[in-house]
């Protein structure tokens, strides 16, 4: 009951956030140079045609009035229609969103095992050879730009070796896995080092806690103390960082999806910005914001489930 009230409260708090996001994106799109109608009708249209279309889309109204109209439609669940594709924005999002979600979850699934294995390995032998090598590789992983790595991977695994397709999304689950492997891998390269550093230092902190001594004094042995006490206590700080990273992955999808031509939200977003497709950009941003809010909420709930001291 208490948890339910907490969730409800958090969702209520999300409303002003979403409102703020809509205002900012709306203002940004209005302030960006370039005329969507020009892009829409091409160079040869007469000024009369342009004026007609501008009027039809309400682009001549005062900006505030445009925003109010947009907000009113939004409340009715209408995200507007794409200027470019002439289909409802919601339909475009429904088409592209699952792809990005698949990519993000795929990246997470690929990321977690190495993160746990590497941080436990380096924490248990602090300053050992493995620890140093892992740290060094981590720095390299962080330093290499994602888009460049993505290009290299595409060239090497995709073209030279031909192991993986270098673009698209595929049609079945198995194909999805295959198509998105390289995008997920190139994203993972920079996510893993961040999480490893964080989890490793949390593990080292927790290994020096007093309760470790208690566990050893009970005769549990180092392995068991590590498994049952140290590890669960180390998860929390990393979990919070993880939430931030997931939000980042959503935004980061722009890069990998562009490089690998994955038909996801990131690609939709970039193309819509270039085409001045106002409503699509706004709708996509709102969906990104909402997803981020939900991820944060989920992580907070998970944290309270792990740590009884953080009651909602």
């Amino acid at each position: 009951m208490k948890t339910l009230r907490y969730i409800l409260l958090r969702l209520l708090q999300a409303v002003p956030v979403l409102l703020g996001v809509s205002i900012v994106t709306f203002a940004l799109m209005v302030a960006t140079p370039g005329d969507p109608i020009r892009l829409l009708v091409g160079d040869r249209a007469t000024p009369e045609t342009i004026a007609l279309i501008r009027d039809r889309y309400g682009l001549d109204d005062p900006i505030l009035a445009q925003y109010v109209t947009y907000l009113r439609n939004l409340l009715q669940g209408d995200l507007g229609a794409s200027l470019r594709y002439r289909v409802p924005v919601s339909q475009l999002i429904a088409q592209h969103y699952p792809v990005t979600l698949f990519l993000v979850i795929y990246t997470i699934v690929l990321t977690l095992p190495p993160v746990i294995a590497l941080s436990v390995w380096s924490a248990r032998r602090q300053s050992g050879v493995a620890d140093q090598v892992i740290r060094l590789l981590g720095v390299v992983g962080l330093a290499v730009p994602v888009f460049w790595l993505a290009l290299l991977f595409a060239r090497f695994f995709g073209v030279t070796l031909g192991w993986f397709p270098v673009s698209g999304f595929g049609n079945s689950f198995g194909e999805h896995l295959l198509h998105l492997f390289l995008p997920a891998l190139s994203t993972m390269i920079w996510v893993v080092p961040i999480l490893v550093r964080n989890l490793r230092s949390a593990l080292l902190d927790e290994m020096n806690r007093d309760y470790v001594l208690t566990g050893l004094s009970k005769g549990l042995g180092e392995r068991q103390v590590f498994r049952t006490h140290v590890f669960p206590n180390s998860i929390l700080p990393t979990l919070n960082l993880f939430a931030v990273i997931v939000a980042y992955l959503l935004g980061g999808s722009v890069i990998v999806e562009t490089v690998y031509a994955v038909p996801g939200m990131g690609k939709l977003m970039v193309e819509s910005i270039l085409a001045r497709d106002y409503f699509v950009v706004q709708g996509a941003t709102l969906v990104f914001a909402l997803t981020t809010i939900l991820v944060m909420l989920a992580v907070d709930l998970l944290s309270t489930a792990i740590d009884p001291r953080l009651s909602p």
Binding site: K218, T228, R309
Partner: protein, 534 residues
């Protein structure tokens, strides 16, 4: 009968530092041995070395034969069959020695799961029985609770329950009562003494408090600077110490300190007066506002008291009784929700505009000396800071004034360039006192200034405070959970419980004829050197 544990030539080194130097002792089955000494004397390290619970950097030499088997040479898996099963250990701060994410019942069960075949229902029932043995009320409920939901005393009991689970032969108790309130300490000590009697449990009890050791143990080891300086039966050592350090340790016990309350200026109008002070933490929520409630949590309720110039007032109470909050309200660190303060005949608002002027007259010294000093300011800079900030003396005279203040608190001049991390706890506390004195205040509020210090340092700091009081005519408000200190230092005393002042009056009157049961309980809980061994 052969000894249960025979330790010969135990030495522990951390790099080039010798933490324990050639310590030998024997423990008979069913006997209880106390190890006392100040912090850094190696008493805890000795205790932990027996179960090899030291960091890897420690080098342990010597022999510790437990029933003939050398604990220091056993391979790890075999040692793990002794740890927890034959030799169990309890620690100083139960709060940090329990896993915050695990239910109390599961932590007690851990030992049983490891060393016995007990599972499921039988295991659960055994855990409940153990919690009952250590006198945790309503075991069924508390077994399901998490450590942060338990009070300090209950946590320590839960830890004892976990240690007793496999009916060990030897219990190593590392300062098990130091972090606890007097009344809780008393009950834990009683529990340990009772377990000794009923289960024939052998015990090694490490503490810096001779009084606590005297209540549980029959034999005593005194350690200083990694070495054993004296050993023998508790009564003999207390009555006739052979080593000068032991004599000093005994003389420093609050029981033996000179009573030195200053003569109060009778008839003078009170210097500090509090009327109906109420402090609440937390704010009013919307629901409180609608229901017309005050909201929050009451830390201090309707406190009235007054201190005359030159007087020293003691405030006692357990942790959570609101005594520190009251002190904080006096210097404006928390804002009272209600009530007024009068300083020197004029109304004062310590949290308001006149704050700085008031703080020059009234200074607070904090409990934890290391935390009260910035780790990156040298002693000189720490003491000079208020002088510069408040322009308390001409710029050119600051150095001279700092030297003067350091001399007043018996700090050697060469310490001026040190950082707090390079000082002992007692030295840090002196720096904090010197910093407070820099204001040349009329009132000094000492908030548990000695509770983080060893007895010998505690005696020194108390001596310093009473000397300063005599020399400068300071008015003191002395907050402590230790009644024996209050009794020796203060003219009058306030007893607080759950935010209320339950009893107040002249020290002698309150101690000799307490009116409240709670005060009586507190007085009875004072550990004495002459306590009988169980």
């Amino acid at each position: 009968m052969s000894a249960l544990l025979r330790v010969q030539g135990l030495s522990v080194r951390f790099g080039s530092t010798v933490a324990v130097d050639d310590v030998s002792f024997e423990l008979e089955r069913g006997a209880a041995l106390g190890i006392v000494g100040e912090s850094g004397s190696g008493k805890s390290v000795t205790c932990r070395a027996l179960l090899r619970l030291l960091p890897r950097s420690a080098r342990i030499d010597g022999r510790a034969a437990f029933e003939g088997r050398d604990l220091l040479a056993l391979p790890e898996p075999e040692l793990n069959r002794i740890r927890g099963k034959r030799i169990a250990m309890i620690f100083q701060t139960p709060a940090s020695h329990l896993d915050p994410l695990m239910r109390i019942g599961d932590q007690v069960a851990e030992t049983l799961r490891k060393h016995t075949e007990m599972r499921g229902r039988a295991l659960r029932e055994e855990v409940l029985r153990l919690l009952d043995v250590v006198r945790i009320p309503d075991p069924d409920r508390w077994a399901r609770a998490y450590p942060h939901q338990l009070s300090g005393g209950m946590k320590q009991r839960a830890m004892i329950a976990g240690a007793l689970a496999c009916q060990p032969d030897l219990l190593l108790a590392d300062e098990p009562t130091t972090a606890l309130d007097a009344t809780v300490q008393k009950s834990v000590l009683e529990l340990l003494a009772q377990l000794r009697r009923e289960r024939n449990l052998s015990m090694i009890f490490v503490s810096h408090d001779l009084g606590a050791v005297a209540q549980v143990c029959d034999d005593l080891l005194v350690m200083r600077r990694a070495r054993l300086v004296e050993s023998g039966p508790v009564r003999r050592v207390v009555a006739a110490p052979r080593h000068a350090y032991t004599a000093q340790l005994i003389a420093s016990h609050p029981d033996r300190l000179e009573a030195a309350p200053p003569a109060a200026l009778s008839g003078a109008p009170p210097l500090v007066e509090a009327k109906g002070v109420q402090v609440r933490y937390g704010s009013r929520t919307l629901a409180d506002l609608i229901a017309g409630r005050e909201g929050g949590f009451i830390a201090v309720e309707e406190a009235d008291f007054s201190v005359s110039p030159g007087e020293s007032l003691g405030i006692v109470g357990e942790s959570g009784s609101g005594k520190s909050t009251l002190a904080r309200a006096l210097v404006g660190l928390v804002r009272p929700r209600k009530g007024t303060l009068v300083f020197d005949g004029a109304p004062a608002d310590p949290a308001g505009p006149g704050r700085i002027a008031l703080l020059r007259e009234m200074q607070l010294v904090y409990q934890h000396p290391y935390e009260a000093l910035s780790p990156r300011l040298t002693v000189h800079a720490a003491i000079a800071e208020p002088l510069r900030r408040h322009r308390l003396c001409p710029r050119g005279a600051v150095d001279e004034r700092v030297r003067e203040l350091m001399a007043q608190v018996d700090l050697a001049p060469e310490l001026a360039a040190r950082l707090p991390g390079q000082l002992s706890g007692g030295q840090c506390q002196r720096v904090a006192i010197a910093r407070a004195l820099a204001f040349d205040p009329r009132v000094l509020i000492a908030d548990e200034v000695t509770s983080a210090l060893d007895v010998t340092l505690q005696a020194q700091v108390l001596g310093l405070l009473s000397r300063l009081q005599r020399e400068r005519g300071l008015t003191m408000i002395f907050i402590s959970h230790d009644l024996s200190l209050i009794r020796r230092l203060c003219n009058s005393v306030i007893v607080m419980r759950r935010g209320r002042i339950v009893e107040a009056g002249a020290t002698a009157a309150v101690f000799d004829a307490p009116r409240e049961d709670y005060t009586r309980e507190l007085i009875a809980a004072m550990p004495h050197l002459e306590g009988s061994a169980a």
